[in-house]
Amino acid sequence: MSIDSHILKPLDFFVDFKQHELETCAAALKSRTVAAGEVIIERGTPALTFFFILSGAYEVAFEGDRSIILEQKGEVMGWSTVIRPFHYTGTITAQKDGEVLEISSSDFFELIQGDNALGEKIMKKINKIASERRTIAAGSQ
């Protein structure tokens, strides 16, 4: 289901986005409800979609029994879709019912093609999140 740009405004990820950028992102994102126990990402499978949390709690289980819980509104899951290694590095399971926003890699690259600056802005943010997440994942061993 497509969404309205006002849903994105309060999310940390989009805090410095201009109105037209929010509208472009909103047009590309789709909302999806998730049931408790549902596996939305499986480790090792090709990363083709990434997600923003709107509600709920999600366990990310990495290799070697390491795991973290993501529940902050606006947090990104599945960033391997746009940066290496292009396959999911953790299995993500919903801990309770919730809602996420999703975008496929093909839609994301269409967005980049249509607005280069916005594409770079998103890539930079995802890259920063990915390096933070890697540190957290390594620390949780």
Binding site: I83, R84, Q113, G114, N127
Partner: protein, 374 residues
């Protein structure tokens, strides 16, 4: 009994030969990759299913096959052989492309031009290998890494090669993450890959609106035969940038391009009938296509390095690899290779500039080749 035998002799099982089964296996593989592995599904599913449709054995002369006049597939294929589908795809591409990074740093256009070297080197190589000039030109255009442009030119010059050339062009576009990074690393030093590009200037709305008109004049006066591709491309872009026909621009970049892509993929797939596709020529086309694409990648990088000899502010030579027109796949690879070397080096926007100019560059080359070979 006679009727039963007649019925059996009319079935595909009786009419099939090994080439049908080889192509059906290839088509099934494409469909599998698209659905199970979600690998380039927008391309592989229509093409793969088209391969299946085109390779079911049938009575010749019954008006069923894609090469038989008055068949349904033949009518759908008309959009390929006349160049209509590629032109429509270019309309949609124009409506979805942002030229701001190119306008912010116009000298990156040179990299888009340099990457077209692959086309010309392959043209000469294919002719040296015994291909007729029109066939050689059609094979060479694979170096532009642009499926619709390859199909457009091949339809005009060597329609009998559309199947293998289209499949080769799309295959290499899909194989960008495998083909390009090793060439990028081979031709650049670690220090070069770490070169940061300065922030591009902000491009005004007025510049973005004027560009499609100026671009149309410059490109189509230079190569009038590129009008079918670049005319629709720049028209799509002015619809996007003018902001006065948002509804049309949205339609062009969604429903219109999707419709053309469906029929383009399906009929190109169906054109790969075993008896016309499984030939030694097809193998040569695949090999030369790989050469063309690799040379295109390399020549963009080498040209960037040459530019650096004369420029005060150095450019990251990886950007040259994005001079092919596979948007935005090659720009993404450049970005990722740069990022691997230095996590703070974001090349995406700059690479998009080269990538967009690559689209224009390969369409101009197609126009030049078409007019030269006719």
């Amino acid at each position: 009994m006679e009727l039963l035998l007649q019925f059996l002799s009319n079935t595909g099982f009786y009419l099939a030969d090994y080439r049908n089964f080889v192509m059906l296996a290839i088509g099934s593989l494409f469909v599998y990759l698209a659905i199970a592995k979600k690998y380039e599904p927008l391309l592989l599913l229509p093409i793969g299913f088209g391969v299946l449709i085109g390779n079911i054995p049938f009575f010749k002369g019954f008006g069923l096959g894609i090469y038989e006049p008055n068949s349904v597939l033949h009518y759908l294929y008309f959009g390929v052989t006349t160049g209509v589908y590629p032109s429509i795809v270019f309309l949609g591409l124009g409506a979805m492309t942002d030229f701001s990074s190119l306008l912010a740093r116009p000298k990156l256009m040179l990299l888009g031009a340099a990457a077209q070297t692959g086309i010309w080197v392959t043209l000469l190589s294919a002719m040296a290998l015994g291909f007729m000039p029109k066939e050689a030109a059609s094979i060479a255009i694979i170096g532009g890494a642009d499926g619709p442009t390859s199909i457009f030119l091949t339809a005009k010059l060597a329609p009998h090669l559309i199947g293998p050339i289209a499949i080769a062009a799309y295959s290499y576009m899909a194989l960008i993450p495998i083909i390009q990074p090793p060439i990028m690393r081979l031709l650049t030093t670690r220090q070069e890959r770490r070169i940061h590009m300065s922030e591009p200037r902000e491009v005004s709305k007025k510049e973005l609106m004027v560009f499609p008109v100026i671009g149309l004049f410059l490109c189509c006066f230079l190569a009038p035969a590129s009008i079918p591709l670049l005319g629709t491309f720049f028209f799509g872009n002015i619809m996007k940038e003018s902001g006065v026909v948002d509804r049309l621009a949205n339609t062009a970049r969604s429903a219109v391009i999707d419709t053309a892509t469906i029929f383009l993929g399906l009929t190109v797939g169906a054109s790969t009938q075993g008896d016309v596709f499984l030939t030694p020529k097809s193998v040569s086309i695949f090999l030369l296509g790989a050469v063309a694409f690799s040379i295109a990648t390399a020549s963009g990088i080498i040209f960037a390095k040459i530019m650096n000899l004369f420029m005060k502010e150095k450019i990251n030579p990886l950007l040259g690899a994005a001079g092919v027109s596979a948007v935005p796949g090659s720009a993404r690879e450049v970005h990722l290779v740069g990022l691997k070397e230095d996590p703070t080096n974001f090349l995406l926007m700059h690479a998009m500039a080269c990538n967009s100019s690559g689209v224009i560059g390969s369409a101009i080359c197609a126009g030049i080749l078409w007019s030269f070979m006719m």
